[in-house]
């Protein structure tokens, strides 16, 4: 017996009949059962992260795929015609009959919030682009940056609170920890103040991913070279093994390229700052400054 989902049947809506705000509302409603932070979920907006407990909805990573599938179940699209890309059974979706929405592998890599999920649907042509809506959506790069800031702020607050309860040598050691955390927070606050410095920091991740991609390309070159050598030696078993190795490296190379695209986009996003992002950054900078002040460092 094939698997059958136990849930209320949802009537899917054509994405071209609703606007971005309505789509966002439905996406938030669709993930309710996965959200473990009820308060953050009930006040969620376009820029509330799905993951994380401090400012996020508290969805666990084990339900990440469920977020994407919940979006797929709720909407219909005209991008339903499969156009083959390459020889490995991969395809892209082009206009066709109205049908089930399908989010392909890797397309949801940056969809960390309801707003970014709506942007994903726009980027892949499932709904019309709405520049006014997108103005309000904080990029993936800034969602990560702000999320890290909140984590850092919580860590400092907790350390300060622990240190306050101590006396003597214990207090001195705990104070040293607070001092380090405050220095980290201060450095992060300064980094947030400078979009260029932030972009440079993200460029380092991109450079590391690029180096890894190049390393894997060299691995493929080596496999191709070995295959050429084995072909001339007429060793059928060896040739078959090397063909398998070559195919595996090509698959890995595609994944590496997908990873590189994500880090390239994050690096590019970190260099720009919209009004919505500026507001989020200002908010976390204020929080950090206040906690640093309270720490007495």
């Amino acid at each position: 017996m094939a698997f059958k989902r136990k849930e209320t049947v949802i009537e899917a809506t054509d994405l071209n009949t609703i606007d971005a705000a309505e789509t966002e509302k439905r996406i938030i409603a669709g993930v309710k059962k996965y959200a473990t932070n009820e308060a953050n979920w009930s006040s969620a907006d376009a820029n509330t992260p799905f993951l994380g407990h401090i400012i996020g909805m508290g969805i666990e990573s084990s339900n990440l795929a469920d977020i994407t599938m919940s979006i797929e179940r709720q909407f219909l699209t005209k991008k339903t015609t499969r156009v083959p890309v390459g020889a490995n059974g991969e395809f892209r979706l082009e206009d066709g009959e109205l049908g089930k929405l399908r989010i392909l592998d890797g397309q949801d890599a940056l969809a960390a919030t309801p707003g970014l999920s709506v942007k994903m649907l726009m980027d892949f042509g499932h709904m019309a682009s709405d520049p006014a809506y997108l103005e309000r959506v904080v990029s993936f790069a800034y969602i990560s940056v702000v999320g890290d800031g909140h984590k850092m702020n919580e860590a400092l607050k907790k350390a300060v609170s622990r240190a306050e309860k101590l006396t003597g040598v214990e207090k001195d050691e705990a104070a040293a920890n607070v001092k380090t955390l405050a220095a980290q927070a201060l450095a992060y606050e300064a980094l947030l103040a400078d979009p260029a410095a932030l972009a440079e920091a993200r460029q380092k991740s991109y450079a590391a991913d690029k180096a890894a991609h190049e390393a894997l390309s060299s691995e493929l070159t080596m496999a191709v070279d070995k295959l050429a050598g084995a072909t001339t030696s007429n060793d059928a078993g060896r040739v078959a093994a090397l063909r398998t190795e070559e195919a595996e490296i090509k698959t890995r190379l595609k994944m590496s390229a997908a990873k590189l695209r994500v880090s390239a986009e994050v690096a590019a996003q970190a260099g720009k700052r919209s009004a919505a992002e500026e507001a989020k950054v200002a908010q976390i900078r204020t929080l950090l400054s206040e906690t640093i002040r309270l720490s007495g460092c």
């Binding site: 989902r5 990573s61 469920d66 919580e154 907790k158 622990r162 920890n177 190049e214 390393a215 691995e219």
Partner: protein, 467 residues
């Protein structure tokens, strides 16, 4: 025994490589410096200290180094050997590269060029695979050639690990016997142990990235000590020396040495069951393919229907634990890209497919309610049924009303304090979240303890690693 023809062939190669030692050396340096932009830190000091020891030992030397890339032999040679000494024929090491990796590659022209270079670089092709008579004979002949070279006072370069370390970590608990055998066959030989690694080298690759700066440590130690009568005894000591050099290398590095992760999954949580029909063992195919690779799906499907639910969550916990271990090493995985990490439940390995980095995994605390997995990329061992590993962990139920993340953090610090004699109280520790990664602070300093936190439904889990 080597045949007369094999011995003559070896002597001919020795002659040609000696005659062309300077141009070959110049070619290697030019390629490394001009094409790849490689540099070495503190090279002059390193060579001066090392050669003071080598000059005091005129006898044979077995070079033994860690192995991360396909061009390590050139890099180690370049680091150790100044050009002024290229004329010292007995000091120029012979090496044993895998035949299939170097001798039958590319077009006939390319293959010929590579073979010529390998010939002049004193390479003795080696066949690591194959148990047929010809392969075994090939290996024996290579061993005999190495032994002959050493008996005549020469030098031989062998990788003790026998292959590139996919996790980027030399594991002293897995010694191989080849070097021990070689040392026992040539009692006067000493081991030149070298640990060389680029400052940004996080995993095994074909070649280090362009512009890489290398740092190295070396020791010259006795080949065989009194009382060592088996290859394993010699190799164990050699691996311990190399592991010590590795420790010294990481002590001077910005890279984290201890990279481990853990993950717990609450099997009772309703939201973990909605894609499964527990009675029939069926699962939503679309959902499965978003998490599992083709290989993993095949294994999943081969399981008895009653155990598929647990098998899936074992895969998931392993992927999450490995993801955390990889992240600590700077090897990132995009949001939700579960298929980028491929888990082999039988071999207990997790492969980061975009980079080829590989972590060891281990399942603990298994019962009907939960799955818990540990993963170690480097820094020590994840442990197995016979040997305990270097990771300490706990899985606990989260008290009602407590934030699971806060609970895991608090209990981790308690656990570390309980486990360490010199930390009287958890209050002396704090958790830093710099760069989004949890790390423990003590006396204001970040500790390289590979800490990891996890929570799922009713459970929280935490782990740390000290090696």
């Amino acid at each position: 025994m080597l045949s007369a023809a094999e011995t003559a062939q070896l002597r001919r190669q020795a002659l040609w490589s000696r005659l062309l030692a300077y141009p070959t050396y110049a070619l290697i340096i030019a390629m490394g410096r001009l094409r790849f932009g490689y540099t070495f830190k503190d090279l002059e000091r390193f060579r001066a200290e090392l050669w003071a020891k080598l000059d005091a030992h005129p006898g044979p030397v077995i070079w033994a180094a860690n192995h991360l890339t396909m061009i390590d032999s050139f890099l180690v040679f370049w680091a150790v050997f100044p050009m002024s000494r290229a004329g010292q024929a007995n000091r120029l090491p012979w090496s044993t590269p895998e035949y299939r990796n170097y001798y039958a590659v590319g077009s006939p022209l390319k293959a010929a060029a590579v073979r010529t270079l390998m010939y002049l670089c004193r390479c003795i092709p080696f066949l690591r695979e194959g148990e047929d008579e010809a392969s075994v004979r090939w290996r024996e002949a290579a061993f005999e050639k190495c032994a002959l070279i050493l008996k005549e006072g020469g030098s031989v370069f062998v990788y003790p690990e026998a292959g590139r370390a996919r996790n980027g970590w030399l594991d002293s608990r897995k010694p191989k016997d080849f070097l021990g055998r070689l040392a026992l066959a040539t009692p006067g030989a000493k081991f030149l142990c070298v640990y060389l690694r680029g400052e940004g080298q996080t995993f095994a690759t074909v070649a280090p990235r362009r512009g890489e700066a290398f740092r190295m440590h070396a020791e010259l130690v006795d080949g065989v000590l009194p009382g060592e009568t088996t290859p394993r005894a010699v190799s164990e000591r050699l691996f311990t020396v190399l592991a010590g050099l590795q420790e010294r290398w990481f002590a001077g590095s910005v890279l984290s040495k201890n990279c481990a992760g853990n993950d717990v999954v609450d099997l009772g949580a309703e939201r973990h069951r909605e894609n499964f029909d527990l009675e029939s063992g069926e699962a939503d195919t679309d959902w499965l393919t978003r998490h599992l690779s083709a290989k993993e799906l095949s294994y999943f499907s081969s399981q008895l229907k009653g155990s598929r639910f647990r098998t899936f969550w074992m895969y998931f916990a392993a992927k999450e634990a490995a993801h955390k271990a990889f992240t600590q090493a700077g090897i990132m995985t995009p949001h939700g890209a579960f298929r980028m990490i491929e888990v082999d439940l039988f071999r207990r390995k997790a492969l980061h497919r975009p980079t080829g980095a590989q972590a060891d995994i281990s399942f603990t605390d298994a019962d009907d309610d939960k799955v818990h997995c540990l993963a170690v990329l480097r820094g020590g061992s994840v442990g197995d049924a016979d040997q305990p590993g270097d990771v300490l962990w706990r899985v606990e139920e989260v008290p009602s009303g407590e934030n699971p993340g806060d609970f895991a953090r608090r209990r981790l610090l308690d656990f570390i304090a309980e486990s360490a004699d010199d930390i009287p109280s958890a209050a002396l520790l704090a958790i830093s979240e710099d760069d989004g990664l949890p790390r423990v602070l003590r006396r204001g300093k970040l500790q390289d303890w590979g800490v990891s936190l996890s929570h799922s439904g009713r459970y929280a889990a935490y782990s740390f690693m000290v090696s």
